[in-house]
Amino acid sequence: MSFPWAQQYKPTTEFGQWMDDRLPVGRMIYNSLGAGYPTPRNLNYMWNFGSLAGVFLVVQIVTGIILAMHYAANAEIAFDSVEHIMRDVNSGWMIRYAHANGASFFFIAIYLHIGRGLYYGSYKAPREMIWLLGVVIYLLAMATAFMGYVLPWGQMSFWGAKVITGLFEAIPLVGKPIQELLLGGFAPDNAALNRFFSLHYLLPFVIAGVIIMHIWALHIPGSNNPTGVSVKGKQDTVPFHPFYTAKDGWFLGLALIFFTGMMFFMPNALGHADNYIPANPLSTPAHIVPEWYFWPWYAILRAFTFDFLFVPAKLLGVLAMFSAILVWFFLPWLDKSPVRSGDYRPRFKKFFWFGLIPCIVILGICGGAPAEEPYVMLSQLASAYYFAHFLIILPLLSRIEKPKPLPNSITEAVTGKPLPQAS
């Protein structure tokens, strides 16, 4: 789709015309990333993280394919093959550090991208499908990152694999058989390592496929914007190219400075030293934590230290952890406020900045900390708030809140002058 005033694709060469009649790739690019895609004129920097996430996915795929050229998915030699990459392969250390830190940058981009959606109400009609596909992408990305972290077969890899597959053991009756099925054994070993490698290679391409649908769905209504007000006329938009190609490009340059800075000067800052110790099935490291991007969910998992009615604590923790993300699937129907942008929802805005965000930060801190007080208590409070935000606060707010008056159009919000009447 597009707005009626979108610029039309005109092949400039004879070959372009020939192709356009047969396989209109040029037209597709023009209409989705080129001048043929009218985009709200007022997008702020929070709208840069979608394309940034896309670039980091490409970084992961390129560096990952290279690592797979030198890596050996065999429990006997996996750890050594990673050391071989670090020491022997030309620039291997650089490619591995790019992949390890690239995962973190991918999640940074994704989290800011999701946060943008949460604040500006991008999940609301008519963009529910974009949001749902986004949640699918996020779940796939977590599975991919988890399995990737197992591959170096260090202590953290091994115990991470054991603990996470152990989650499935919590399922009543069939838990144990399911865990054994997932691992192909009683503890992580060669069978598990090989299937994790196979899936770690596969899933990013599945993610790429879902992203195509995500962007396809985006191009039906077009992008949301900081006012949340729908595009009403030509004056409200600018062509994607050159305006947002230039902005995305410049922002990518900035992000790459931080990325290469991390990669070259503090490549292990986000990693865990114990993963440089080869996997030892007979000794658990004193303090096992997942990668930072899983910390909030890990905190929710550990918040359940008590049995409730007939449900054991272990099962509760697992259910809560999965529900914490699955609740996002219901968000478009939990938050019924017709106003999208948090800028025009004074109470929502307070609950967002002083409720949800600090709550997730606290969960993150607790998830990375040892399972001791005060962290256990803090995780319990924050988990409770987290669910309350989505299941109680948002549905209530949408009924009782009085939103601020919305501008009549994006143009009016930006220039103070009304949108000229469309001809």
Binding site: H70, D88, N90
Partner: protein
């Protein structure tokens, strides 16, 4: 400049007004940005391709020592160097003679036996056992293998014949069997690579 209070005409991007001589001030920033990105891409792609070159551990396998005391004249052994076969052959007097009688000006890859061996050790012909055509292992080193029309080596893949100095004489092989870098540590131990 598009600031919040000027209206941007979407169909008339700010980039379109031509300046003096058709050169726009924005052209400079375009060229600078694109060239900078180009340099970045090249600097990134180089290591991404170079990683496929032999790694340090592969290069570290690059020298071996071989005891040649048991090789009688007329015999040869196969050894392995950098995962490639190597032929070490103790030439007999008639074989040396045959090699020296060839007029090298008529050869495809003109070299004398002396060029391909070390002074005082002309009987030790040390070559890679890799046919210079497409890389098969020629026959003729092991006992009982055919040695080809010139009594050296014969490659069965596409029929290249090598003489007793390991020179290409007939068939598609373009050059003589390669002589690796080597030195005699003692009279009976040779170090290859």
């Amino acid at each position: 400049m598009a600031s919040v209070d000027t209206t941007v005409e979407p169909n008339d991007p700010v980039t379109s007004e031509p300046g003096i001589g058709g050169v726009r001030r924005r052209d400079f920033i375009n060229i600078a940005a694109v060239s900078f990105a180009g340099v970045g891409v090249v600097a990134t792609v180089f290591p991404l391709v170079n990683q496929m070159n032999p790694s340090a551990d592969v290069l570290a396998l690059s020298s071996i020592e071989v005891d040649i005391s048991a090789i009688e004249p007329g015999q040869a052994i196969k050894s392995s160097w950098r995962k490639q076969p190597i032929f070490i052959r103790n030439l007999t007097a008639p074989e040396i003679e045959a090699a020296n009688q060839v007029d090298i000006s008529g050869l495809r890859d003109p070299e004398t036996l002396a060029d391909r061996t070390q002074v005082g050790k002309e009987n030790w012909l040390i070559t890679l056992g890799v046919c210079t055509h497409l890389g098969c292992v020629p026959l003729g080193a092991a006992q009982g293998e055919v040695k080809g029309e010139y009594g050296g080596y014969f490659c069965p893949c596409h029929g290249s014949h090598y003489d007793t100095a390991g020179r290409t004489r007939k068939g598609p092989a373009p050059t003589n069997l390669e002589v690796p870098e080597y030195s005699f540590l003692t009279d009976t131990v040779v170090k290859i690579g």
